[in-house]
């Protein structure tokens, strides 16, 4: 279905201010890192073409958003049509980890996606290049709490990355692309109508599973 047209996949990166969203995007798209990124105002995006799932060409449109809380209210404009959402935290900042759930909730509210329960999320813990001493104490345990179904409910793939040293960034986004593609195909299958009426069609396809721990 999406073969005749180049598939555009929209990916939203969310997370507290300063966790490295811009750096991640820049590292993935332009393979560069700078200490001089500007604070993101509003939202911005870059696109990158990659190949997923055995030769399928897709264009990833990666949205880098402002981390300040009040900009979440702009999500209505920016999250529309998203195919995957990256929840980002900073491994040195416990608060940013604890805020992941609210970023997710806010995203679902704002984006008005058709099947919120099955919408693909992925979690990225950035800045693993820093000293072990600076990292959140007993990070793994806390992370498990966040991702466990019972406690945090964020049972999504987790990647630990360093945008500075280009560690794990590419693999993370490959998974993002895969998940986004699945989501896109689902949407196309169930919803040919434009997104004028977001309450119209609520598809429940069981095949979608976003909880593959990679």
């Amino acid at each position: 279905m999406s073969g005749r047209k180049k598939t555009l996949l929209k990916v939203i990166i969310l997370g507290d201010s300063g966790v490295g969203k811009t750096s991640l995007m820049q590292q993935f798209v332009n393979s560069k890192f700078s200490h001089q990124y500007k604070a993101t105002i509003g939202a911005d995006f870059l696109t990158k073409e990659i190949t997923v799932d055995g030769g399928k060409q897709v264009t990833l449109q990666i949205w880098d958003t402002a981390g300040q809380e009040r900009f979440q209210s702009l999500g209505v404009a920016f999250y529309r049509g998203a195919d995957c959402c990256v929840l980002c935290y900073d491994v040195t900042n416990e608060k940013s980890l604890n805020n992941l759930a609210s970023w997710k909730d806010e995203f679902l509210i704002q984006s008005n996606v058709a099947n919120p329960a099955d919408f693909p999320f992925i979690i990225i813990g950035n800045k693993i290049d820093v000293d072990e001493s600076k990292k959140i104490a007993s990070l793994q345990k806390k992370l498990n709490n966040v991702t466990s179904n019972q406690l945090g409910g964020l049972n999504y793939p987790v990647f630990e990355t360093s945008a500075r040293d280009a560690i794990n960034v590419e693999p993370a986004f490959e998974v993002v692309a895969k998940m986004a593609l699945q989501q896109e195909e689902l949407n196309e299958a169930g919803n040919d109508v434009s997104d004028d009426y977001n309450d119209a069609i609520n598809i429940h396809l069981e095949s979608e599973s976003s909880s593959c721990m990679c």
């Binding site: 201010s17 001089q36 500007k38 105002i41 009040r70 900009f71 404009a77 509210i109 704002q110």
Partner: protein
């Protein structure tokens, strides 16, 4: 500064010295009789001609290499020159190209340059060289090397370019020696009015000044240095007479270092020191305040930005070399040495037709600039005469003594926004209109800007002496969680604000620049002062533009109050929509100090969702409403005014609000307008109905690039263009203040505020997405 200009008659660095490394062989072997050569071979080369050939050949090679380096060097200088011409002169690259090629001559370039410079030095500099020591003395080399943004980094790396410093010296000498000459650049005239003594406004009008200015961004900061020496004052008090270099003295100013505002501020909100400076300088001003000859060369765009030389050279990335130019001008490339040298050597009064042409152009431009200046002057004179019976000869004395502030009620009769709709037929309105018209035409000339900003933003009324410092102090000790979370965000963003600008991020010394701390104080104070609004990303960008744009002629305290006035009284307010989807806002009522707000509040009716009417929220608390406005802009006004472009962008799948939303929340600073234009747009906003202007200017920016956008068939590319307007040198060049204002004025005439609020009502329902 070790290089005296007289010692260094070479515009292009130490090139000639390094090239002329004459080897022991001497250069004239070929002219010697064969016998001597044979003898030479016998004596020096043990009868082995091969080694002679070897040496000759290796000498040749090294000279060749030097030549190549020299060419590269000159080429890169030319590139910079072209770029600066483009930036400050509003010339298109084609025009520059044409001029450069018209300047080419057949003679050996170096010869011509040396000759021209030699005679230029003889005729102009020699007589003033006696001043050099005292002037250079005041110019701390390290400071001047810090002043030029990213450009200076290049310079520091490249010792060859040190002769640029020589240029500065020369320029300074020219400036301080100016009384003996006639007319000056716009920059100097304005500057002289603003506070330099001795430096008269009467110089000989030549393109040399502007070319020198264009050549080196440093030169627009350093010339001020000499003047400051006459007025010893506390380093951390920003003054009219000092610019960047001095400001860098106070690089580690912390809040506690600042003198209490009340001590240095008079009841008009001026620094006492500034008053002193201007008073003294006004002696000179009364001579002939009108003359303003700019040598700023422009052709087709004469009217656009004559005050640009006044503007700070340091915008984000504005100093990067334009790779576009190098790519598109093979002609210039191939002729790099010739064209460069001649373009730069132009000032020498030769009688070539090119020089005449340039003179003509600069004369034309001078006249235009003069016209604007006259208009401003007439305006102020008229105000003073009609309302104050002030003898006009003391006009500028009065203005800079602060008497103009009495004009407040005439300049700003309360509700600028309603003026357009309800014209009052009295003289006050007429005068306000005149001011508006002037600002629309040209922006506020730099010397008037500090004053008029304080006036028009209401900062003068809002300002409470001492309050700013108190607020900063409160912020640093606050335990209020709301304040703290805002301060956290401020702290996160400070080092991410203009990281490529030396005034914010002094990369050379690896520490924050002075504006970093000024911005910090302003934001800290604001977060405490308006805790209901708090800090919103985007403010950092706007305030840093203000700091750079005003060029340290106002203290951070003044900028703070201007900012408060701007946010509180001028930016539109919105009625909150409390529907389920909006992110909980920090609620809190605003102290609406201005009646003008009421007219700006968009009424919202309740509809199917839980829309409720609350007290109006400030612009920066109203992101959801701003987002709705983007829909109105994109889905209503855009198709209405630019149907063809709209259809095109629609077809390739552009979401306009992706572009315009960032413009709005950063008030056109973020990747939108270049600083030198933005600063004038800010002038304009102070006398505009900003609510309307946000719409009209957004439309104007698209209109401005309409033909370009129509040619682009790829959504990514459109985003790339429109989201990087001030980054991309080709779009940057095509942004002209005058044109933008004309286009947006046109839209404003067609936009009805009622229309906007009607559309808002419709969209306030759960967003139809």
């Amino acid at each position: 500064m070790t290089n005296s200009p007289v010692d260094k008659p070479d515009l292009f660095g130490t090139a000639s010295e390094s090239v002329v490394s004459i080897s022991s062989l001497g250069g004239n072997l070929h002219e010697l009789p064969d016998v001597y050569i044979e003898k030479l071979i016998h004596k020096k080369f043990d009868d082995n001609p091969v080694s002679l050939i070897r040496q000759l050949s290796s000498d040749l090679e090294s000279k060749e290499r030097e030549l190549i380096l020299l060419r590269q060097e000159k080429f890169s200088r030319e590139q910079l020159l072209i770029k600066l011409c483009g930036e400050y002169g509003n010339l298109s690259s084609i025009e520059i190209d044409r001029k450069l090629s018209s300047l080419r001559v057949e003679r050996n370039a170096d010869e011509v340059v040396v000759e021209m410079i030699g005679s230029a030095i003889k005729s102009e500099l020699a007589q003033s060289s006696h001043q050099a020591p005292s002037i250079t003395q005041s110019n701390n080399t390290s400071l001047s090397s810090q002043a030029g943004g990213s450009y200076k980094k290049k310079q520091a790396k490249d010792p060859q370019k040190n002769s640029d410093r020589g240029l500065h010296d020369r320029e300074k000498i020219q400036r301080s020696h100016s009384t003996s000459r006639q007319s000056s650049t716009w920059l100097n005239t304005w500057f002289n009015e603003a506070g330099s003594p001795g430096a008269g406004r009467s110089w000989h009008s030549h393109s040399e000044e502007s070319l020198l200015n264009m050549k080196d961004p440093n030169s627009s900061t350093s010339p001020r240095r000499p003047h400051s020496r006459s007025f010893p004052m506390p380093v951390n008090v920003p003054t009219l007479a000092t610019r960047a270099p001095v400001e860098l003295d106070s690089i580690d100013v912390r809040s506690e270092d600042l003198p209490p505002a009340s001590a240095s501020v008079d009841k008009y909100g001026f620094f006492n020191d500034i008053k002193r400076v201007t008073k003294e300088s006004s002696v000179d001003l009364s001579v002939d305040p009108a003359i303003s000859r700019s040598t700023h060369i422009t052709t087709s765009t004469l009217s656009s930005d004559p005050v640009d030389l006044n503007e700070p050279p340091l915008a984000d990335s504005s100093l990067e070399l334009p790779n576009l130019l190098s790519a598109t001008h093979p002609v210039i490339q191939s002729a790099s040495i010739h064209t460069t040298t001649h373009a730069t050597a132009l000032p020498h009064p030769t009688d070539t037709s090119a020089t005449m042409k340039l003179k003509q152009i600069s004369k034309q431009h001078d006249e235009k600039t003069q016209q604007y200046h006259d208009q401003w002057e007439t305006y102020f004179k008229g105000l003073l005469r009609d309302h104050y019976d002030t003898p006009t000869s003391d006009l500028f004395k009065d203005i800079f003594k602060g008497n103009l502030v009495k004009l407040d009620k005439y300049i700003h009769p309360g509700q600028p926004s309603t003026l357009e709709n309800n014209p009052q037929p009295d003289s006050i309105t007429v005068e306000y209109r005149t001011l508006h018209k002037l600002i629309n035409k040209i922006g506020i000339p730099a010397p008037y800007r500090p004053l008029l900003w304080l006036e028009l933003s209401h900062a003068k009324d809002l300002k409470v002496p001492g309050e700013f410092d108190r607020l900063v102090k409160v912020a640093t000790t606050s335990e209020d969680p709301v304040v703290l979370s805002n301060l956290n965000q401020v702290n996160l963003d400070l080092h991410r604000t203009m990281p490529s600008n030396v005034f914010f991020n002094d990369l050379i010394n690896g520490q924050p620049g002075p504006n970093y701390y000024r911005l910090q104080k302003i934001l800290y104070a604001f977060v405490v002062y308006k805790s209901s609004i708090g800090y919103c990303q985007g403010m950092n960008k706007i305030i840093s533009n203000l700091l750079l744009g005003i060029n340290n002629k106002l203290s951070e305290e003044d900028i703070f109050w201007i900012w408060v006035g701007f946010v509180d009284d001028l930016l539109p307010c919105y009625t909150p929509i409390n529907n389920a989807t909006s992110f909980p806002q920090s609620s809190g009522t605003l102290s609406n100090s201005s009646a003008s707000m009421k007219s700006k509040v968009a009424p919202t009716t309740s509809s199917s969702s839980s829309v409720s009417i609350g007290s109006p929220t400030s612009f920066f608390q109203s992101l959801p409403q701003i987002s709705i406005d983007q829909s109105i802009l994109a889905d209503y006004f855009f198709p209405k005014f630019m149907p063809q472009l709209f259809a095109h962008l629609q077809r390739i799948g552009i979401q306009l609000e992706y572009i315009t939303l960032n413009w709005w929340v950063s008030v056109f600073t973020e990747n939108c307008l270049p600083l030198e234009i933005w600063i004038k747009v800010f002038d304009n906003l102070l006398v505009s109905n900003i609510e309307l202007k946000l719409f009209s200017l957004s439309l104007a920016l698209f209109k401005n690039f309409e033909s370009l956008l129509l040619k682009i068939d790829n959504a990514d590319e459109v985003y790339l263009v429109m989201k990087n307007l001030n980054q991309n040198s080709s779009t940057k060049r095509n942004l002209k203040y005058v044109e933008l204002m004309e286009i947006s004025k046109g839209f404003e005439k067609k936009i009805d505020l009622e229309e906007i609020s009607r559309e808002r009502k419709q969209l306030a329902r759960p967003l139809r997405r």
